[in-house]
């Protein structure tokens, strides 16, 4: 596929052109925080950054969304549905986050179940990624099957060569976006290779080899290890809400008036005690022990059984933001060494 050069000043022009046909969602500063949001102008886009605190999964799977709104009138019940047709282009997304979309695709678009809310938004989207030249101390994407220059799931991957970007087309659509730019030279490509090698080496030595982890966890539901680290867990939803691959949700209705209301879907979290509370009052996961075990088992065992992949992209957000520094890498390492 094509590999072209885009100078730093030309990025703005590219964005302006793309903005004509798409809503562009890119990293921007909002209220003191770097996050993915729709842009009004190309100037807002931030491309010198490590990663956002919140994952971009909310583009396809918002924290809350109205599934439908109903209102009862004399002439009958009117139902309104959400607008899923917005043409969106995600710009400047990291490979780990793009990989998370591929994992979410497996859940929301499986043989058993097709989630129209997620899938329509996905179908109406394109992705321009940004390679990681300088992974963070908390990144471990290479441990879970990805990498700082991985372009799976993207239309186009941008690599920062310092004074310009090398644009790698991944799909035909991506090729179409960079038609008018000049080809990358051999020197450019070599520079990209060097930066890539450096980045991959820069990721903290693979924390632990996760080969065989799924099989190991198969027999570990009742292991003692789950007693060792759960007490510090606060039972909040920080890790799950910031995680690019966590996808659990709850559905409930809210009445606005006696005759109208909404059915909402909202993020839920297995870390919260309410998650498995039965209507009888029984809760099979009574403490943080069962819930932290669930997190690890789901991501590194159950999901692998169901979809052949770890439900983790190694972005490190949970490590960075956990209020009590419960480090998933340590947990994995402990288990791997058992």
């Amino acid at each position: 596929m094509e590999e072209k050069i885009i100078s730093k000043s030309e990025i703005g022009t590219l964005l302006d052109k793309l903005k004509e046909a798409h809503s562009i969602i890119a990293p921007v500063h909002r209220n003191g925080e770097l996050s993915f949001d729709r842009i009004d102008s190309a100037d807002e886009v931030v491309l010198e950054y490590s990663n956002t605190r919140k994952a971009p999964k909310s583009v396809f799977f918002p924290q809350q969304e109205v599934m439908f709104a109903y209102s009862k009138t004399e002439s009958g019940t009117q139902v309104r549905e959400p607008d899923l047709e917005e043409d969106v282009l995600l710009f400047g997304v990291r490979p780990c986050d793009v990989r998370s979309f591929l994992l979410l695709d497996k859940v929301f678009g499986s043989d058993d179940y097709e989630d129209v809310y997620y899938l329509r938004r996905r179908e109406n989207s394109g992705i321009i990624g940004l390679a990681c030249n300088n992974p963070r101390q908390t990144c471990f994407c290479t441990t879970v099957g990805s990498g700082p220059f991985n372009h799976d799931g993207m239309d186009l991957l941008l690599v920062d060569l310092g004074d310009k970007y090398l644009a790698e087309a991944v799909t035909e659509r991506g090729e179409g976006m960079i038609d008018n730019f000049s080809d990358a030279s051999d020197a450019d490509k070599q520079k990209r290779n060097d930066i890539r090698e450096n980045a991959e080496k820069g990721i903290k030595p693979v924390v632990v080899d996760l080969e065989g982890l799924k099989d190991k966890l198969d027999g570990m539901f009742d292991a003692d290890v789950w007693d060792e680290f759960h007490t510090k867990c606060l039972g909040c939803a920080t890790c799950t809400y910031l995680c690019p691959t966590c996808h659990c949700f709850d559905i409930y209705e809210e009445e606005e008036t006696n005759n109208s209301g909404y059915r909402l879907r909202m993020w839920d979290s297995c870390a919260l005690s309410l998650f498995t509370l039965h209507t009888s009052g029984h809760n099979p996961r009574t403490s943080t022990k069962e819930r932290t075990r669930q997190r690890i088992m789901h991501k590194f065992n159950y999901f692998v059984h169901n979809y052949d992949d770890f439900a983790c992209v190694g972005c490190g957000r949970c490590v960075q933001n956990c209020p009590v520094n419960l480090d998933i890498r340590d947990v994995l390492s402990t288990i791997a060494h058992l």
Binding site: V66, A69, R80, E81, P82, D83, Y262, L264
Partner: protein
Amino acid sequence: MSEATTDWEPRIVAFLCTWCSYAGADLAGISRLQYPTNVRVIRVPCSGRLDPFYIIKALQRGADGVLVSGCHPGDCHYISGNYVARRRFSILKRLLEYVGIEPGRVQFTWISAAEAERFAKMMRKVTADVKALGPAKRLVKDYGAISRLVD
């Protein structure tokens, strides 16, 4: 959410305690005293029963004003309900105003069973206060913020 037009009338929720304030309201009615119709009354056994949830929920649902009224301190039918309420509401009112809820939207008072005239005056005052503030917008739930619906 009510719209501010020239004929906009505020909708005010009034939580009245059964033994004093509600009885006072009743007496105002029997005495044919005139007062604005903006107030919707919700009767509670005692002002001390009123959980701040009710006040906050009323605001979230679009009430333009909230009034809570109980027996005068010392006269509570349940002896000390209004003393407890006094502390609770004092802190709540200060907190709500601290975050920017306009003073006058949420008000508290004492009205006894015999004070029909006081009740009527209070209704007029609160209605005028809230009318001057305009329709409530702060803390009102905006479903539009979390939905983009196709008609």
